[in-house]
Symmetry: D2
Subunit: 255 residues, 4 copies
């Protein structure tokens, strides 16, 4: 029975690439996403075509008990979840305070903060019993700096980052590695950035960012670092790192 790498939020960007990387290294990749059955099946099929093991689930993480039931089921039917990637985003683009509804603000929190808490609450005790496990969390610049128009996103991500720290403080001594991965730049991900910008603007952005497409963060390259994190020896764990393209400015720099 292969160890499982569970990806919550598996689109054709970071999530799918991480799933593929881990499957290629001997994990059974379990991909969960909210919509797009065809997209999900393509990701699963690609991994299987490469000789890897993968299973896909369409699920809405925000719904009560969804995360909880799936994890129990995966542990029972597929294998032990040794690595989890929490990869749900909550970016809704820039909206002024007046245009940010109570509902939008709450939904940001439900996806980006509360779903992580729920996942930790069901999975960390299982990992604790095994004495090991890796809990990777994709995060964003908004977790450490709040820009205008980012009320829902920044509040949710700020909560996410602090939650990663409390989880790490409580579970690292029990052998569980919690890592907060600060993605500080635009990712070459058609399912998120692409949809947010629209096809045309996304195409232009990719062109503008350079010949080799590496002005955008390339998810298959990012996956290398996710994999490295999950395989650091426990005497030398990283809790937080940033990732950005060489050609992009760090969030703290200005042009």
């Amino acid at each position: 029975m292969k160890p499982v790498c569970l990806v919550m939020g598996a689109g054709a960007g970071i999530g799918g690439s991480v799933a593929k990387k881990f499957a290629g290294e001997g994990y059974h990749a379990v991909l969960c996403r909210r919509t797009d059955e065809a997209g999900l099946q393509k990701l699963v099929g690609d991994i299987q075509a490469d000789g890897g093991d993968a299973t896909g689930f369409l699920l809405n993480a925000v719904n009560e008990n969804t995360i909880e039931e799936h994890i129990v089921g995966i542990e029972k039917e597929i294998g032990p979840v040794e690595v989890v990637l929490f990869n749900l985003g909550a970016q809704i683009g820039n909206r002024s305070l007046e245009d940010t509804s109570h509902k939008a603000f709450e939904l940001g929190w439900r996806m980006a903060t509360f779903a992580l808490f729920r996942m930790a609450k069901v999975l960390l005790p299982i990992m604790e019993q095994r004495g090991s496990g890796t809990f990777l969390v994709t995060s964003a610049t908004a977790a450490i700096r709040g820009n205008a128009g980012q009320h829902s996103h920044a509040a949710a991500m700020g909560g996410r980052r602090m939650l990663c720290q409390t989880l790490n403080a409580e579970y690292a001594p029990k052998g569980i590695h919690v890592a907060h991965i600060l993605v500080d730049g635009a990712v070459d991900a058609p399912d998120t950035l692409g949809k947010m910008l629209g096809e045309e603007a996304f195409r232009k952005l990719r062109e503008k960012r350079g010949l080799e497409k590496d002005g955008l963060l390339l998810p298959e390259k990012m996956a290398e670092t996710y994999f490295h994190l999950a395989h650091q020896h426990r005497s030398a764990w990283t809790h937080e790192l940033d990732l950005r393209s060489f050609s992009d400015l760090a969030w703290w720099n200005h042009r």
Copy 2:
């Protein structure tokens, strides 16, 4: 008609002391808290006995429309809210992940993050129309560092801090001063710390912290800084500062 200083979360600690300070400087202090009618009336009465203006409301900020309706009412009946202090805490003591229920985690967010968002959403547009206003937010070390057992509190406060940054980025250019006050230490506040620790432990802590009681943060002294923040000239605003007793370690230091 005096300008109003509205305190959301007005116990016999920071909230009450800030209300008293502003009332003494010519504001009509409006004190809101969830429970303890007698405690509220004592605070209001003390201010009035000193010749100040004060009004008290018992309200549960978490309930739908409560904040919103009160602000509309205050603006109409009492005066323009020129200064608001958002002072709701969400500290529930240390609880392991397993002992932190979904409900406790959500309640932390409702009080510490969402209530602030709701208050900003109703009040900032009013202040924007006047072209000025001060929005003070009491915050805690948990907003920048997550310790074990602080899952609910740290996630809520981390969200609060990022929200203050987004609000500041959007409203400072419109003349509204948003300040995030990081209270990094125990406050000499019987209504919060006192209740959390119990009477006996609170008494011992006060004794241990020294002759002049200033190992604990003294709320009437903190109020001086709150008042100063609200009266900085707009050419030199502070968005974030820390407060601690001289005899306490900063959060980043270790013994």
Copy 3:
């Protein structure tokens, strides 16, 4: 004998304004600067014309024993240094790595970091004997974020900020208040910004920043916060705060 407020780096900006503010509140202001005898005498004369006490010294803080000897002399001849403002800057404008000489890099450190250390080393033990004192340090955004071209300045300011933390950790329990004031924006100071930009560019900047000149930080308004810091009760001290104009972006925000 009046208490002394010693300003190291007293030009016609922050330093001069802080000296004036404290003199107006009953301190004997001692102004030290490297050059411009006429400018120094004007600052001293203005304070005296307002009925305050002030003394000026031209000195080069970088020279061996200069700081040390002056402090001994001031303590002996003028009065106890209850408040010191370390206000030496080390901004030399943007220079690429190749254009930053060993000498320029070292000079930045000598002025911005080492001179602060030397001042602390001579003054803090004196304050410790008295059991009180305030050590204010003007700092810059470069202390927390390094931009291209800021090699000398950022390294020096980063050292300054950490030094303020070590001094605070060691001396706060002894009753000495060390505060790190992060000036995050351009100051309306002809002696520094004005000289760096040149008269014409400085004039244009002031015009562009708005009708009421408050797009730039106004030093006489900043001085209010410096004074407040020096008079916080020791139960509620601030170690770090930021200052910027309402119309400027915080360093962590981007347009």
Copy 4:
């Protein structure tokens, strides 16, 4: 001609382990240290015994022109320096302000900050001409938080961190990867920690930290992350990460 991995500060801890790792992966490791010819030759010999290429130099980085001349020589005689690890420390143990001499303070800066600047100044233009290169910098918790007694160390490391940010901002767009590695814990390194603590205390610490010795950071495990950093694709570079043992508290947490 193999690419060179140059280690400045190559003792039997991080420096030596990184040299060994890179040599094992096809680099010519160049090890530089100030003292202990026998120790240096052992490190070089061990690498060669494993079939790797290594060269050692005894040099005092603080001396004028030493770094500069060695780099020119290495580039000419051994190969292109594709990776450099700046690994000089400046920890001198806890010393009160009164016990920290001007000389000690300055030496900290000369080793930890200025030597890095000098190395960058000679090496980055060479890397720029090649359009690629990796500049790894070992750093310490003192770079982001200053404790009592750490005046020299924290000021030097704070300067180091800001310098890494300015270098990164200027050279990342030119294809050169600058990474600041925050070592947040005690390293199992007899040459530094061992000497600072003394043999007996070091032995006790290793015992106390656990059966598998991994309460201390193990340098050969840390070297895996250094190697990973140097081989991240330029579309997904990390500028800063932390490293600590699973059983240690993060610097921001308290027991």
